[in-house]
């Protein structure tokens, strides 16, 4: 990926919970306009990596650079201001607020920075997720699992991010919805958003991504272009299963 400009560079990242090291000198790169995925088993440190990039967790070593600028111990709010948005595994929606209000708050940082274009952004987001428009007045807590994931994605898009960090967007969703979510992710790439996607659903993730990393027990075990990894015997054996059971 030499010809692509790097938007996010994570170098030798170490994160520890007390004495337990969850990430051990992990290095990844996300090119501008690319989808990069990190796959791996439970407890490999995938979520830890995203939280650390976002500033939710302090890192004990290594460096994180966004558009060439070193971030140090930046806080979450500064990351949002720079154009990085995280959709966490838990979705973290505001359950007792309407879908519309959830989306509005997605544009909070832009509003603070003086941009007053949230209504226009919301229309664009509704074009991607027409079902959310129908549910606009409904409380977020009453939505189905798939709709919640869509709302979480849509809310992140309200901030017009340059880089989107997605943590297990397919978790707990029916196969049909998973396909829809991944179609949206592929569409987002076309509109120029760079995406770092963390997934256990390795097959779906590899199909949509340009480049992939395999994270095992806090270390990058394998990396390569997705279309190569998808045929790699080790990946097939550990994450894809024989005969495409997934």
């Amino acid at each position: 990926m030499a010809e692509v400009k790097t938007i996010l560079e994570v170098e030798d990242l170490c994160v520890a919970y007390g004495k337990v090291e969850a990430l051990h000198h992990a290095s990844i790169k996300v090119g501008e306009g690319q989808i990069v995925t990190v796959i791996g088993p439970n407890g490999a440190g995938k979520t830890t990596m995203l939280c650390s990039i976002m500033g939710l967790l302090p890192h004990t070593g290594g460096a994180i650079r966004f558009l060439g600028q070193e971030l140090g111990d930046a806080e979450v709010e500064q990351m949002v201001a720079l154009g990085i948005n995280l959709v966490p595994e838990s979705r973290a929606l505001f359950g007792e607020m309407s879908v519309g209000d959830n989306l509005l708050l997605g544009a909070f940082m832009r509003h603070r920075a003086g941009h007053r274009d949230h209504e226009q952004t919301m229309e664009e987001v509704f074009r991607i997720f027409p079902r959310l428009k129908e549910r606009r007045e409904q409380h977020a807590g009453t939505l189905s699992g798939g709709e919640r994931q869509m709302l979480a994605l849509a809310r992140a898009l309200m901030a017009k991010p340059k880089l989107l960090l997605l943590d297990e967007p397919s978790l707990g969703l029916a196969p049909l919805i998973v396909r829809e979510i991944f179609r949206v992710i592929a569409d987002l790439k076309k509109s120029g958003v760079s995406i770092l996607l963390v997934e256990q659903n390795a097959r779906a993730a590899l199909q949509v991504a340009d480049y992939a990393y395999v994270l095992e027990t806090g270390e990058i075990a394998l990396e390569g272009a997705s279309d190569q990894l998808i045929d790699d015997p080790k990946v097939v054996e550990s994450y894809l299963g024989l005969g495409g059971k997934h």
């Binding site: 806080e75 607020m97 708050l105 909070f108």
Partner: protein
């Protein structure tokens, strides 16, 4: 007891209940957003009332010195941090709010004569001195502990309360003050006489509640505060900083407290430590609402006001006992009917 006495007591109860309702809303707000049980809420009531009384007596209120002192400390801490983290752009704002603003307030107090101001201007000036203390106290006492447990925050809140009561004694002395009524009018409604001040208190409380409701329902900052209360991590991921939400909720709590103090100052003599008991009664209301529901908290607070006024007729020696005993059946009822919900963080 005949109807006339009942109506009189009811009027009293509703007047006090309106004040307790305001305070209970502030307590629920602060707890929901910051998890701080805001014991010093009552001190803002006393500071608001006594600052206004000082203006009317032609004295310089001690809260001005507190504002200047707290501003200097906040500015020192924040400027040091801004320099250390390499964000010198923030300094202008820090200096503006914490040094320039108190200086302007001091200039107004010393150069103009607040004792000759009309009542409304005196009220605005009193609020202008007391309300900024809310965010300053948040900055100094609670912001460094944002991740601490509810119990630790409660202990700090008690410490802040004790410190502020002490400062109140230093600033205003042990004598109480009372301010003249906003209006001397009274109206005869059938068998009862309704005083103008009662209408002012109830009307102003209702107005403030409506304004707060509109703020939370209609503005993006109000929604941001509610979002922080619902899901702190989610809110941070939207760029709603915990610090901003904390300062904003303390600002509102200080505004509500000081405003309540100004409303009751003509009805009752306010001493430096009066606020605590008033705040506690608001707290009983907030507990009825489980520290989570605004309407139930407000209704509970009005109930506290009525209970207080009727028990002062039947068993005046036990007035406070009866009011605070209310907490026991309420807690039993709540613990039996509420399902425990795990925090999803």
């Amino acid at each position: 007891m005949d109807l006339q006495i009942a109506l009189l007591l009811g009027q009293d109860g509703i007047t006090n209940g309106a004040i307790y309702a305001l305070l209970s809303l502030a307590l629920v707000l602060v707890f929901a957003v910051t998890r701080v049980i805001f014991i010093p809420q009552g001190e803002f009531v006393a500071f608001g009332a006594l600052t206004l009384a000082s203006f009317q007596a032609g004295k310089t209120p001690g809260t001005l010195w507190l504002l200047i002192g707290a501003g200097v400390v906040v500015a020192l801490v924040d400027v040091t941090l801004a320099l250390r983290s390499g964000m010198p752009k923030r300094i202008l704002r820090i200096v503006g709010w914490n040094l320039v603003y108190p200086a302007v307030a001091a200039a107004v107090v010393f150069l103009l004569k607040p004792s000759e101001f009309p009542l409304l201007a005196q009220i605005v000036l009193a609020l202008a001195l007391v309300v900024p203390l809310g965010p300053m106290i948040y900055r100094l006492a609670f912001q460094p502990l944002a991740e601490a447990s509810v119990l630790v925050l409660l202990i700090v809140a008690v410490a802040v309360h004790l410190a502020l009561v002490g400062l109140g004694l230093l600033f205003f002395g042990a004598e109480g003050s009372r301010t003249p009524a906003f209006s001397d009018a009274s109206f005869n409604l059938g068998p009862v006489t309704v005083s103008g001040q009662t209408l002012w208190v109830v009307g102003a409380s209702l107005l403030l509640i409506v304004v707060l409701f509109a703020f939370f329902e209609r503005t993006i900052y109000g929604k941001a505060l509610r979002a922080t209360a619902m899901n702190r991590t989610g809110a941070r991921l939207m760029g709603i900083s915990t610090v901003m939400a904390g300062k904003l909720s303390f600002l509102l709590a200080a505004l509500i407290g000081a405003f309540s103090g100004i409303l009751i100052a003509p009805i009752t003599t306010v001493y430096y430590d009066t606020g605590f008991l008033i705040g506690l009664k608001g707290f009983v209301g907030a507990i009825v609402g489980g520290l989570a529901s605004y309407p139930i908290a407000a209704a509970g607070a009005v109930l506290v006001g009525l209970l207080e006024s009727f028990s002062s007729f039947w068993a005046s020696a036990f007035k406070e006992v009866i009011v605070f005993t209310l907490i026991i059946p309420v807690l039993v009822w709540r613990s039996l009917t509420t399902r425990h919900v795990e925090e999803d963080e």
